[in-house]
């Protein structure tokens, strides 16, 4: 590799050709401030428009200051990252950004977690010479959708959201529009997000450095439900939450906090604390049976069977194919997501068990996800207008509730989930990361097809963080071709292949967020630190290994519910409660012959 020698802040350094000044400086322990710049290297996420100019440095011999994030190192370059000129320029840049930014930090959802606020602290901004008269800032209407709140008054035009929406997710809901002061990131024709191809994956929210994009907050509604003596509250918590929530309380990324999480939910006053891992096991029973059913038919000679079967746990992914590939909507499994399966069972089987009327039960989910907020509102998941899940809150929202309720999370003694919807397996917990759903399905499908115990539970070949992965699993002679994609850009590749008739897969797992649910948009903000995602990923598999039972079909309470209530997987009752259907939501331009 070609190496380049240069001097940064009077120190010589050697870097590979093509390295930016920012990267070279980082390697030397020089922390150049950035704002628009955003990278998640191992997940292929890059946003470097070089637009905000916070990272400018002095390059000796150049007339103008250079943005460190997009300027490549050159041989014998002499760079100063902290000269008076640089510091003054950065201050001015910051003051100009702040001059068109509301100063309502105390009431902002991102207060304490805002990268612009951090910069203002770092540069000790006390007064701003560029603040104009009142109402001189650009002004936009705040928009609320089922998952995401857009307050573009706070937008700093870093365009991270646009990069996530277009490049990582290829959803194309967001673009920079207009010019000059009215310039903003918005949808086509400034429409409401509801009328755009938005999937509510929330990756825009996950990367927004400021309070321009935030999640819809249901913490108040949840607290009111808890204290209402006429309501029974049932809470479920998703697998990825337990490996991330500790971060909100200063614990190491990758800490498995299942026991403390359960204890905190009990301390908050929920009547029943259950686990989405349980309904993940239930999902495997339904989805696995569906896979085996389709495969058996196909191998029996029926080539009209819709294959490959696609997973359907991820609501952003469901929105994606409904908008972008509606003609292929017979491919995904009809199994509801674990959240919705849980809700349906909580308000039927469990409600009957505790003798509680449907409308007297408030079902809450804690999710690493923002699309789940949208999913709970879908009409198919309501009975007479009463939703199976009333509120879906994010990992961040739960952390806020815990802090609000004076609960010292770190010192809580571990507690256990309640019975019967709290018992789960290692197969349930790996739903939280890319590759996990399909691995859980394979563990069960293998044993059902072969009627033999698995020689080895861990399918290492299905694990990893590469965007598209594939593996062939030998199921007693039957070669099962499996595809995995995370990030909707990668999902699109696999779908285009299916469309072109080039796909060799029998089953494909798709998760919308890079890394899967562990990097869901409802998780504690990682601010571009990919190591945090890696730590959560490792923790998920560690949690799996620690479980006494690791295959969904061996979960005793899953076996019990089929015996007592559901009958058999994909049977009549299951279809009624645990399966769903999909819609065509593409916008198409057609000829109007009447005109």
């Amino acid at each position: 590799m070609d190496m380049i020698k240069l001097t940064i802040d009077n120190r010589e350094v050697e870097v590979p050709k093509g390295t930016t000044i920012l990267k070279a400086a980082q390697g030397m322990g020089i922390d150049i401030p950035t704002l628009c710049h955003f990278e998640l290297n191992n997940l292929g996420v890059h946003n470097k428009p070089g637009g905000c100019r916070i990272c400018v440095v002095e390059v000796v011999g150049r007339r103008n200051l250079a943005p460190a994030c997009v300027t490549e190192c050159m041989p014998d370059m002499v760079v100063r990252t902290n000269s008076m000129r640089v510091i003054n320029a950065r201050r001015t840049v910051l003051e100009l950004i702040l001059s068109d930014h509301p100063a309502d930090c105390l009431q902002c959802a991102k207060n304490g977690n805002c990268e612009l606020q951090d910069l203002a602290v770092r540069f000790g901004i006390r007064k701003n010479p560029f603040i104009g008269p009142e109402h001189s800032q650009s002004s936009y209407q705040i928009e609320v959708s089922p998952s995401i709140i857009r307050d573009m008054n706070k937008c700093v035009m870093c365009r991270r959201c646009e990069t996530m929406c277009n490049e990582m997710q290829t959803v194309g809901a967001l673009s920079a529009i207009e010019r000059g002061f009215p310039a903003v990131v918005s949808t086509a024709f400034n429409q409401h997000l509801d009328h755009s191809p938005c999937t509510f994956c929330g990756q825009c929210v996950a990367v927004c450095p400021v309070g321009a994009l935030t999640e819809v907050d249901h913490t108040g509604a949840v607290l009111r439900a808890i204290v209402d003596p006429n309501k029974k509250t049932v809470v479920q918590v998703a697998p990825a939450v337990r490996v991330a929530i500790g971060e909100e309380f200063g614990m190491e990324p990758g800490t498995i906090a299942t026991g403390k999480l359960t204890a905190a939910l009990k301390a908050l006053g929920f009547d029943y604390v259950f686990d989405t891992d349980w309904s993940a096991d239930l999902t495997i029973m339904e989805e696995g049976t569906e896979l085996i059913g389709r495969l058996t038919k196909y191998l029996g000679g029926d080539k009209s069977v819709p294959l490959p079967i696609l997973t359907s746990c991820c609501p952003a992914w469901v929105n994606f194919f409904e908008h972008q590939f509606p003609e292929m909507r017979d491919l995904p499994s009809t199994a509801k997501s674990p959240q919705q399966m849980f809700g349906a069972i909580a308000k039927s089987y469990f409600a009957e068990k505790i003798n509680c009327k449907r409308e007297d039960m408030i079902s809450v989910s804690v999710m690493p996800c923002l699309a789940k907020k949208y999913e709970v509102g879908r009409d198919e998941f309501k009975v007479n207008g009463n939703p199976d899940v009333d509120y879906s809150i994010s990992t961040r929202e739960l952390a806020r509730l815990i802090k609000m309720a004076n609960i010292d999370f770190k010192s809580l003694p571990d507690a256990e989930f309640d019975s019967p919807l709290g018992q789960s397996t290692g197969a349930g917990v790996i739903f939280g990361t890319t590759g996990g759903v399909i691995e859980a399905a394979v563990r069960t499908a293998y044993e059902i097809i072969t009627k033999k115990p698995l020689p080895k539970i861990d399918f290492e070949e299905l694990r990893g963080l590469e965007g598209v992965r594939s593996a062939t699993i030998d199921v007693d002679g039957l070669k099962l071709n499996i595809g995995i994609a995370h990030g909707l850009k990668n999902a699109r590749k696999l779908l285009e292949d299916i469309k072109a008739g080039k796909s060799q897969f029998h089953a494909i797992e798709i998760m919308a967020c890079p890394g899967g649910c562990i990097d869901g948009a409802g998780q504690p903000l990682h601010h571009g630190n990919a190591d945090i995602i890696k730590a959560r990923w490792e923790a998920i598999y560690r949690a799996d290994r620690e479980m006494p039972i690791r295959k969904s079909h061996e979960n005793p309470s899953i076996q019990a519910i089929y015996k007592e209530y559901l009958g058999e997987p994909c049977g009549h009752k299951s279809h009624e409660l645990l399966h769903t259907h999909y819609f065509d939501r593409q916008t198409t331009v057609e000829v109007d012959l009447n005109k």
Partner: protein, 165 residues
């Protein structure tokens, strides 16, 4: 949000022409600006449904098409009036009171810059220099140049065109 498919209706000849223009540029997203130019030449403006169609043909997000349309002042989403009015805001016209001329048109026509009046007769835009700086301030109505304008002249100019109807 409802679960219905959104279908946008459009006249056959418009649809066919737009598809033809896109094809001429090999349905290449990199040719978006050229496609928009030719479409606006043909239609006079770029309504939302046409942008949806262009996005579909060029395989790019509608938001990106709208991003370009809303960025450039030349592109418009409102149909032009029968008599388009353009007031010069170039340096020479500006220092000789171009803005007052623009204000007079706004008042007389009851529209803002970029808008078209209710009966579709006049639309108002501003532009940068028509090459007649010696006549500043200048405005163009339906391609005809009016020079050495004063705000008091505007009423009569508008009246002249109204009477042609």
């Amino acid at each position: 949000m409802d679960n219905k498919k959104i279908i946008i209706k459009m006249k056959t000849e418009v649809r066919e022409k737009v598809i033809e223009i896109c094809k001429k540029f090999n349905n290449d997203p990199g040719e978006l600006i050229n496609v928009l130019h030719q479409t606006q030449d043909f239609l006079g403006y770029l309504p939302a449904e046409v942008q949806e169609l262009i996005a579909e043909e060029l395989h790019m997000p509608t938001a990106k098409v709208y991003g370009v349309v809303s960025f450039y002042a030349f592109f418009t989403m409102t149909p032009k009036g029968k008599y388009p009015v353009s007031v010069c805001m170039g340096t020479a016209c500006y220092v000789r009171g171009g803005e007052k001329i623009l204000d007079a048109f706004k008042k007389e026509l009851g529209v803002e810059v970029g808008e078209t009046d209710a009966d579709g007769l006049f639309s108002l835009t501003s532009l940068r220099c028509v090459g007649a700086c010696g006549l500043a301030p200048v405005a163009m109505v339906n391609g005809k140049v009016f020079g050495r304008l004063a705000p008091a002249n505007i009423k009569d100019i508008v009246k002249e065109y109204r009477e042609m109807e």
